[in-house]
């Protein structure tokens, strides 16, 4: 149940900014039922604040009152209304707004998706350390609970916003929108959005990112792309990760690549190991190339 208004909808989503000075207790209520509040201009800092309810609940939505149900009664008329409304239209609208906001600032936002434990955070840590003298970078971390990942990012000297989705299994565009208000994202920078570890749901929700990057570890099966085709179809790049473990596994990279390309022939694939560093140069080249293109657009 919603803890803000008790209306029985939505889960509590919390956002927290972690930077090198202190943790801001920005706390945002993100259920999709019409609470509104303002965070000020993007780039501003998070702050504790009261939630303002700018709406009144209709009578059917307050307390324990139930909507009237039961059989048809005389004097009532049924009327069909054609809607033709896309269910995800609202998310799509916010995603497009985010995309415009990011592209106007030359920020390359990448939505990093994978199964839990594929090595997203480890790869990020290594990338942030290797490129910190060359590129401006920031991170948005999505997890159901804990700020462990944001702490790990902060330890590399990079600013991070932790989004805790509560029961939510994926990030949605409005969560990114609010995180962008908390995060001091610099123009012409890289923004890594580490989605909740899940190969199903994040495929459906456009955040406004430039590209989805799937981290596919060699400790998973070669048939992952066939089992989760939606995610591989939605992605632009696949990083085959943990390749330092290949000598200990029966994983055939060639088959994994073939499977990924059968689902999405336009995919780029790179083999990387955040542990040994092998293959990271090609990942960094990909980042530089796409950031330069975003800056020039």
């Amino acid at each position: 149940m919603c803890v803000t208004c008790g209306c029985g909808q939505g889960a509590e989503t919390e956002l927290t900014l972690h930077d090198d000075e202190h943790v801001h207790g920005g706390h945002t209520h993100l259920s999709n039922h019409g609470h509104s509040h303002d965070h000020g201009a993007p780039g501003g800092h998070g702050h504790d604040h009261e939630h303002s309810h700018d709406h009144t609940h209709p009578p059917f939505h307050s307390g324990n009152a139930r909507a009237p149900t039961g059989p048809m009664v005389p004097g009532r008329d049924r009327r069909s209304i054609a809607l033709e409304s896309q269910v995800l239209a609202k998310n799509q609208l916010i995603a497009e707004r985010n995309r415009g906001w990011l592209s106007g600032r030359g920020i390359l936002a990448l939505n990093l998706v994978s199964s839990p434990g594929a090595g997203k955070t480890t790869l990020l840590e290594r990338t942030l350390v290797d490129l910190r003298d060359e590129l401006k970078m920031a991170v948005i971390e999505g997890d159901q609970a804990t700020s462990n990942d944001a702490q790990r990012i902060l330890a590399t000297g990079t600013c991070a916003v932790q989004i805790n989705t509560g029961t939510g299994c994926h990030l949605e565009a409005d969560m990114l929108e609010r995180a962008l208000h908390l995060l001091p994202a610099e123009p012409n920078s890289l923004l890594f959005i580490e989605n909740v570890g899940n190969l199903v749901c994040p495929a459906l929700f456009d955040l406004g990112e430039h590209s989805k990057v799937v981290i596919f570890s060699v400790t998973e099966g070669e048939d992952k792309p066939l089992k989760y085709p939606h995610m591989f179809a939605a992605a632009s790049l696949v990083l085959l990760s943990k390749t330092d473990l290949l000598p200990h596994l029966r994983f055939e990279s060639k088959r994994a690549v073939e499977n990924a390309l059968s689902v999405n022939p336009d995919l780029e694939l790179l083999e990387v190991s955040a542990y040994s560093g092998v293959g990271l140069d090609s990942w960094y080249t990909w980042l530089r190339r796409n950031l330069a293109a975003q800056e020039g657009s």
């Binding site: 049924r78 009327r79 209304i81 409304s85 269910v87 199903v200 459906l204 689902v263 336009d266």
Partner: protein
């Protein structure tokens, strides 16, 4: 379980359009390539409608089979996955032409006359 947030969106959109009237029927269109399971939506619908004007409404779902057109030979064939190779020319890629729908087609409201 993205169907939960999707069903919440359905209920929010329908409730808004109902403008206080009681909703008696909701008709959805779900494509087989949309990665949304109709049964999961049905399961969530009862929970998500509770305490809203949509409570008690019947839910009907039209499932739309996937189809794709080959970007090489332009033939259209049934498509079971979100993408794939053309089974006819075996070189082109199939781009979905149907099956990705996730729409609220229609709703029925009960109003006083």
């Amino acid at each position: 379980m993205h169907e939960l947030s999707i069903t919440r969106s359905v209920v929010a959109i329908v409730s808004e359009r109902a403008a206080g009237q009681r909703v008696t029927r909701v008709l959805l269109e779900i494509g087989c390539l949309s990665a949304v399971m109709p049964d999961a939506v049905r399961f969530c619908f009862d929970v998500c409608t509770r305490g809203t004007p949509v409570e008690g409404a019947s839910l009907e779902i039209i499932e739309i089979p996937g189809r794709g057109r080959c970007d090489s030979c332009a033939e259209e064939t049934p498509l079971a996955a979100p993408a794939g190779r053309c089974p006819i020319c075996r070189t082109g890629r199939l781009r979905p032409t149907a099956g990705q729908e996730l729409n609220i087609k229609e709703m029925e409201v009960e109003s006083c006359v």
